[in-house]
């Protein structure tokens, strides 16, 4: 009885998000209070359900729900530890971002549309996380593309529409590759669940037809690489910066790029298996691309004058650490990569929230206009500082932890060059974050910002989320050694799932 109830949890959590979207759409623009209630209620319920799922997994329950969509293709949601890593992250940040977005979009138009698609996005992200086979993964991956598009073009001006076109051009192109790859995989080996260490049927197939297997792997990785913003497919991400700050926060920290990176993990580790992917000479290419992306993103970030664009290029760079962790092929590196999935999410969402606060409270988008903003908005700026230092990899913050594991993991595998990439990245990160911190704290204000409604800081709805996520960045680093920290959970995933690495 209890076990059956647990089994339905994944579906319940998914439907919570979908139902929230439906209710928000149905309420329309006018009913603000009801919408706020349902948004928070939905996000809170979903988080609770996901935490319950985590509890269930710790108890050893199987959390699975599946139904046949087609003869030979099942829609299957499974809560394995890896899925929960991503699901907890996205549910938690959904709740926080919802709070932030309600405050941020105060008074702007089309809020029902915004929050409706926002909820759908989270439903799709959740589906990506819990997808138990490639078919299900593809379905939610594409749904995510569709649900995010209205958010990217939310403001509706020409620049937003152009960015939306770029966004879709990339993501739907990637989706087509993923579709072809997934269908080809199904044709070759039939339906197989994601299996830690790789699907045995795929290994047999690769023995028979190594060329086809490599081509399909390339298609699959090409498909997810778009969302993971892997060089040279990263072009959509900076363009998508036209979206409102909560969208940037959600897109860049949680939903889209992480779905891509998560896809890389699922394909390399749970579909082909690392050993096979390495045998097919795909992982070296992948690590090389990740390294290039890390450096390229950082270098481009240096040159950006606008805060959100600099953060966007920083995302391009940082997300590839996850890919790098997967491609390096050692347990420690994978732990680092998976921990970074969460860490980068927390840090980057903090940074985007802060950027939103500056834009909303001061009206400033450019970095060179932020001189002295630290004294004006100390809380926001402190949070920004914590997250930026974390990004650089300063101990004991979250970013340091993941980079450390990546580094020693790569060393253990004899890939010393990864250390070089990490060092270069840290130096570049410092080069583009430290000047911002200097402006915030050390330079005198060049402008006289009028106080809005008697407040100097951003108002509560914008401030509390930032404080929360910044604290999380701190705690994820400080408490990394505990079993339920992101690192601890990542270690658990790797030790249980990938003992063979």
């Amino acid at each position: 009885m209890m076990a059956a109830a647990y089994g339905l949890l994944p579906l319940a959590a998914l439907l919570t998000a979908v139902a929230t979207a439906a209710i928000v759409f149905a309420l329309g623009d006018a009913r603000r209070r009801q919408r706020t209630f349902w948004n928070l209620f939905g996000a809170g319920t979903k988080l609770a359900l996901v935490l319950l799922m985590a509890h269930g997994v710790l108890q050893g329950h199987t959390l699975e729900v599946a139904w046949p969509a087609l003869p030979g293709a099942t829609l299957r949601l499974v809560a394995d530890p890896l899925a929960l890593l991503f699901a907890v992250l996205s549910s938690l940040l959904w709740l926080i971002t919802t709070v932030y977005a309600i405050a941020y979009l105060e008074g702007s138009g089309q809020r029902a549309r915004f929050f409706g698609f926002f909820s759908l996005c989270v439903a799709a992200t959740f589906g990506v996380a819990l997808a138990g086979n490639p078919f299900t993964f593809f379905c939610f991956y594409e749904l995510l593309t569709l649900a995010t598009y209205p958010l990217v073009v939310h403001r509706g001006h020409s620049a937003a529409l152009a960015a939306g076109r770029t966004y879709l051009g990339y993501t739907l192109g990637g989706g087509a590759a993923l579709l072809a790859g997934t269908a080809a995989l199904y044709v070759a080996v039939g339906e197989q669940p994601f299996t830690p260490g790789g699907m045995p049927a795929v290994a047999e197939w690769a023995d028979r037809a190594p060329v086809a297997a490599t081509a399909v792997l390339a298609l699959l990785l090409g498909g997810v690489a778009v969302k993971a913003a892997l060089f040279p497919l990263q072009g959509w991400l900076p363009a998508a910066m036209v979206a409102p700050a909560p969208v940037s926060a959600l897109l860049h920290a949680v939903a889209v790029v992480k779905a891509g990176a998560f896809g890389v993990v699922r394909i390399i580790e749970d579909t082909y298996g690392y050993a096979l992917a390495a045998e097919l000479h795909v992982t070296p290419v992948l690590s090389a691309l990740a390294a290039v992306t890390i450096v390229y993103g950082s270098v481009r970030a240096l040159a950006q004058a606008e805060l959100k664009r600099r953060l966007a290029f920083s995302t391009v760079s940082q997300v590839s650490f996850i890919t790098l962790g997967v491609a390096a092929g050692s347990q420690l590196a994978l732990i680092g990569g998976l921990a970074h999935l969460v860490h980068q999410g927390l840090m980057k969402i903090t940074l985007f929230f802060c950027a939103g606060n500056y834009a909303e409270t001061l009206g400033e988008h450019r970095i060179d206009a932020l001189n002295g903003a630290g004294r004006r908005m100390p809380v926001t700026s402190a949070a920004f500082t914590v997250a930026a230092l974390g990004m650089m990899g300063a101990p004991p913050l979250a970013g340091f932890i993941s980079k450390w594991y990546l580094g020693i993991g790569a060393l253990a595998q004899g890939q010393g060059w990864v250390i070089g990439v990490l060092v270069a990245s840290t130096l570049l990160n410092a080069a583009y974050f430290l000047p911002i911190l200097r402006r915030l704290w050390l330079l005198p204000a060049t402008r006289d910002w009028p106080a809005r409604a008697g407040r100097a800081e951003a108002h509560r709805g914008l401030l509390d989320p930032v404080l929360l996520t910044a604290t999380a960045v701190l705690l994820a680093g400080l408490l990394a050694a505990t079993p339920l920290s992101p690192l601890g959970w990542a270690a658990r995933i790797v030790e249980q799932g990938y003992p063979g690495l």
Binding site: A69, F135, F138, C139, F140, L179, A180, A184, V187
Partner: protein, 492 residues
Amino acid sequence: MAAGGALSLPLAFLLPLLTALVVFLLGARRAPWLPGIGALATVAAVADAVRHVAAHGPQAYHLGGWMPPLGVELYADGLAALMLAMTAAVGLAVTAYAGPYLHDGHHHQEAERFWPLWLVQWAALNGTFLAADLFNLYIMLELVTLTAVPLVAITGDRASLGAAMRYLLLALLASLAYLLGVALLYGGTGTLHLRQVGELVGAGGPAAVAAALITAGLLLKGAIFPLHTWLVPAHSNAPAPASAVLSALVVQAGVYLVLRLWLWTFPALLSPAVGWLLGGLGAASVLYGSLQALRQSRLKPVIAYSTVAQLGYPLLLLPLAAVPAAAAQAWQGAAYYIVAHGLAKAGAFLAAGNIRYSLGHDRLAGLRGIAPELSVSVLALGLAFVSLMGLPPTAGFLAKWQLLSGALGGGQWPWAAVIVLGGLLAAGYGLRVLAMALAAAPSDEPVRRPPQRLPRRMVAVPLLLALAVYLLGVSAVPALRLLEQGAPEALG
């Protein structure tokens, strides 16, 4: 002398017909509830037919108790049952929608004329899906044509009259080509029954000529490239409920018959070369229709060109049917495509009808900053387009997946490439429309004319149709299980 199958088969034809006659007799104004009753009765008959097919396998009803070749048989297998059900869903939706659309004070004359025509058309469509007799099919096709043409012309403006004229001339040519082929087949086999002809006809020269004539006629009715020229003006100038039935049902009946006849009557002639020719035309439709849809500046032509594109997919079954590894999945994919397209396209045209009804135009550029009153219709349009793009979680996606898996499984790369590319192009034209609908109004916009208020039912119907596509996107298994009833032996 016994009828055989379920009584609901002839009822699916007779009920909408009788409703049409009574509506004409009493006048639509005096009995506005009558079309709704008739529609519900028809849906009930179709539901019963579907139930029979699902439970007891294919149903053959011998009208008058005469067995073929003497009598006319109505035959419902899984494919026909799916078509009937899809038509019933679209038919019910259109009937519900047309009520408020026509009875708003401007369209009284149109209402009097619309109802009998549409109900006769529904009867004829059901007849087309059920008839297992080549000559009876000819009459049903003519009946569909002669009801479709006035629906195109119903607004009576220059554009729609020209479109109707072109449509009528080409459709009559198509019917005669078809009948010419039927004459040859009867001359060679002495029967008009679909499967009996299939057993007797062989693969000789006369059979090939007959098949070519019949196929040409049906491709013209199904608006397959390069015989599609009539479709876009006709479908984009008709009023919304008419556009919906024309695109979702009427042209699809042509494509349905192409599949029906090639798989049941001419399987012996379906050589790889013929398969490639027909599949090639389908592929050309997919690509040409999508590219044209990208270039339109009005909403309804975009949707109409999308019809041309979508009609091409089911034809991809014909080259795949002969490849054993591809046939079964391609068959399921093609059939599901017709269903998915029918529902999504009806939803899209009705939603577009709301936009036009409310704004008085459907120029894409004029959709910027669309009023909140239309947001449900825009949502319905968007939801329907997602299925046309073949993206999850829609029925269109499941159909595409099956077709694509079939093509890949049979090692038929070119068709797989067409399917993927067609999906991308559809995304292109679909999102071009949606981008406009999501766009903010230009700041220099003059004061907007307040949109005409939409009756609630007109708002709800397209949304429900679109949502049906998602319901079918959750699982295709029930529909595909139905489809297995009497699946063609010619596959594989």
